[in-house]
């Protein structure tokens, strides 16, 4: 009998610490599949952030480095400059990347640092019990915006892909989602493209993945997928914002549907 499907080798078989319905597990698996498929397990170095995915190194059988909150792009820079032929990626959440680590991500992109960034956007701080994130939607309730995000008090959500698309150093920028099987497979394609960008030394790549957090969105897992499709994509449109292969560049922030 032929095995048609099995767990990727890079994925460590261990019980998950993520909550039911969380998107991190899917993203980890996609990452592991890509590392297997590209045959880069022995030369890949990953960076785990501070946030729910702080323990990402428990799931991926590769060299990994834990990073201080927001600093994965700086650490990845230091690693990549020592080992330019290794594959270096960061895995960051919205608080890590778009709040405390905003300077590091912008400057890594502007330097065309040849690294791949996986940016999990779930519009909330999960690890610290559901506070406002820089990507929290307007009117979205969090533990620190109990009446909903009011732009007069807490400002507006930050669109990272659109922001970074203005930088010449960014080579591949895409936003995908984990809300349906089709979206999951598009996410995998985008992630693969990000690694390809790096392997071919084309510069900085970032894939923003809209990911569910049913526990702190206070929804069922199914409702949370619907929330991504109906609400999150309104603020964060899916698509490719920059692609070195197709000279797609949308500095104004318009996504191109793939």
């Amino acid at each position: 009998m032929q095995a048609l499907y099995s767990a990727p080798e890079t994925l460590i078989r261990t019980p998950s610490h993520y909550c039911p319905g969380c998107g991190h597990g899917i993203a980890h698996r996609l990452l592991a599949e890509i590392i297997d498929e590209l045959g880069i397990r022995g030369k890949t170095i990953g960076l785990a952030p501070v946030g729910c995915s702080v323990l990402a190194y428990n799931y991926l059988d590769i060299d990994m480095c834990e990073a201080a909150h927001g600093r994965p792009p700086a650490i990845a820079t230091g690693i990549k400059r020592v080992h330019p032929d290794n594959i270096v990626f960061t895995y960051q959440g919205d608080g890590d990347l778009a709040a405390i680590g905003m300077a590091e991500i912008v400057h890594a992109a502007s330097r065309a640092e040849n690294i791949t960034v996986i940016f999990i956007n779930n519009a909330i701080y999960g690890m610290t019990n559901g506070q406002l994130a820089p990507t929290t939607l307007l009117n979205q309730r969090t533990t620190t915006t109990p009446e909903g995000r009011d732009p007069l008090t807490h400002g507006y959500p930050i669109r990272i892909c659109e922001l970074l698309a203005t930088l010449e150093g960014a080579s591949f920028l895409a936003r995908t989602s984990l809300s349906s099987p089709k979206d999951v497979s598009q996410t995998k394609e985008a992630l693969k493209k990000g690694f390809k960008t790096q392997i071919e030394k084309k510069g900085f790549s970032l894939i923003e993945v809209l990911s569910p957090c049913p526990v702190y969105w206070r929804m069922s897992p199914v409702e949370s997928l619907k929330f991504i499709e109906e609400k999150m994509t309104q603020t964060f449109p899916l698509g490719v914002f920059k692609d070195w292969e197709k000279t797609v560049s949308a500095p104004g922030g318009q996504a191109t549907k793939v």
Partner: protein
């Protein structure tokens, strides 16, 4: 600049630090401009490309220390440098370096504080450097050079110490040491050796994966890790204490000072030679580990200690902890960019020896012919 020859170069301390780092095998430098350490970052920007290394001006000191962290995690010899305000920004990263047991050399060219302060020489970052600075139970190994030559020598040693103990090493200088030009002779063949770093991140090809981290969420793990760290620190305290003694034999009063202040204390001793005053100096070269034992030994014989610092009194606390109540410990300090003069130090010494002004002694001019009867010994 031709580097690895035996000739003397007239260099600022900052340049000496940069060049010595390159000779010690450092090929990755990350920094951010701040006075008074700009000669260091400028020198690196010229020299690193010449030796095939990486020079990168980071977007902040925070990014700089984490780039250095990344380079260290990848197994390379890395350096960063800054001054007061920038070193404060780096403290989180230094704590992570210590927690992840990563070797890294950090140069702090101290300036006056607190806040933006000024760009004059200061020693007010002693607590920050020696007591931890960042969060958690950790220590930097802290080296305090007193000349451009010693900066070069100690930078070599700093890389070795960092690798040997897998720990951040701080070179604690000041604006004067950083910007002052002096003749420097670099070792012809660096005696630095790079250890094999099996723990480094290189890709897990053909071996079990490596993880660099300071996160121990499982109950008990973190305490076990901390116990191991503390054992390492005890070993450093056993093995690595360095200091210099000047004129301590038969001295009535022992000055204790490091870096720039130690040199001014030597000048005070030179001034006093011939007056009958018996003044000695203990100059810590390692501020952590601190030379407690030699101080205890000297406390048995001396009448008093006087600690001289460009601060409100920071190292004096460690001297008092070392000698306890065996001997009185006095303090003379200048703050906010003030540099003590040898005259001021001698006045303080007279005041300690004869508090009621019973001892009238004119402070002599520094003699033109120097160096009569001082004895030196450096404990390596």
């Amino acid at each position: 600049m031709k580097s690895s020859n035996n000739k003397k170069h007239l260099l600022t301390g900052n340049e000496a630090a940069a060049e010595a780092a390159i000779l010690a095998g450092c090929r990755h430098y990350y920094g951010y401009p701040i006075t008074p350490q700009n000669e260091l970052i400028n020198h690196m920007s010229i020299r690193m490309p010449q030796v095939g290394g990486t020079f990168l001006q980071a977007e902040s000191e925070i990014a700089a220390i984490y780039m250095a962290y990344g380079g260290a995690a990848a197994g390379a010899r890395v350096m960063t440098s800054s001054s007061g305000p920038g070193i404060s920004l780096m403290q989180e990263g230094i704590s992570y370096l210590a927690g992840s047991e990563l070797p890294c050399v950090i140069v702090n060219v101290q300036r006056g504080g607190p806040g933006l302060g000024d760009i004059s020489p200061s020693q007010a970052d002693y607590f920050q450097a020696v007591k931890g600075g960042g969060h958690g139970d950790y220590h930097n190994i802290v080296l305090a050079p007193a000349s451009a030559q010693e900066i070069a020598d100690l930078v070599y040693d700093a890389f070795d110490l960092a690798d040997r103990y897998r720990n951040p090493v701080m070179i604690l200088g000041d604006a004067q040491l950083g910007q002052m030009m002096e003749p420097v002779e670099f070792r012809k063949t660096p005696r630095t050796h790079q250890t094999v770093k099996r723990w480094a991140l290189t890709g897990a090809e053909g071996r079990a994966r490596n993880i660099v981290k300071s996160f121990y969420p499982v109950k008990g793990e973190l305490e076990t890790f901390n116990i191991r760290l503390q054992r390492k620190y005890r070993a450093v305290e056993q093995e690595e204490v360095r200091y210099e003694e000047v004129n301590t034999q038969g001295a009535e009063i022992i000055l204790v000072a490091y870096g720039t202040c130690a040199r001014i204390c030597k000048e005070a001793i030179r001034r006093a030679s011939g007056t009958g005053l018996q003044i000695g100096l203990l100059r810590p070269i390692t501020l952590w580990p601190f030379p407690k034992e030699p101080l205890r030994r000297l406390a048995k014989k001396a009448r008093a200690f006087c600690v001289v610092e460009m601060s409100a009194g920071q190292m004096v606390e460690d001297v008092r902890l070392a000698v306890l109540d065996r001997c009185p410990v006095h303090f003379y300090g200048r703050m906010g960019g003030g540099v003590p003069s040898s005259r001021e130090i001698l006045k303080k010494v007279l005041n300690i020896l004869a508090p009621e002004g019973t001892l009238e002694l004119e402070i002599p001019e520094i003699p033109t012919e120097l160096g009569k009867g001082l004895y030196f010994s450096t404990i390596p």
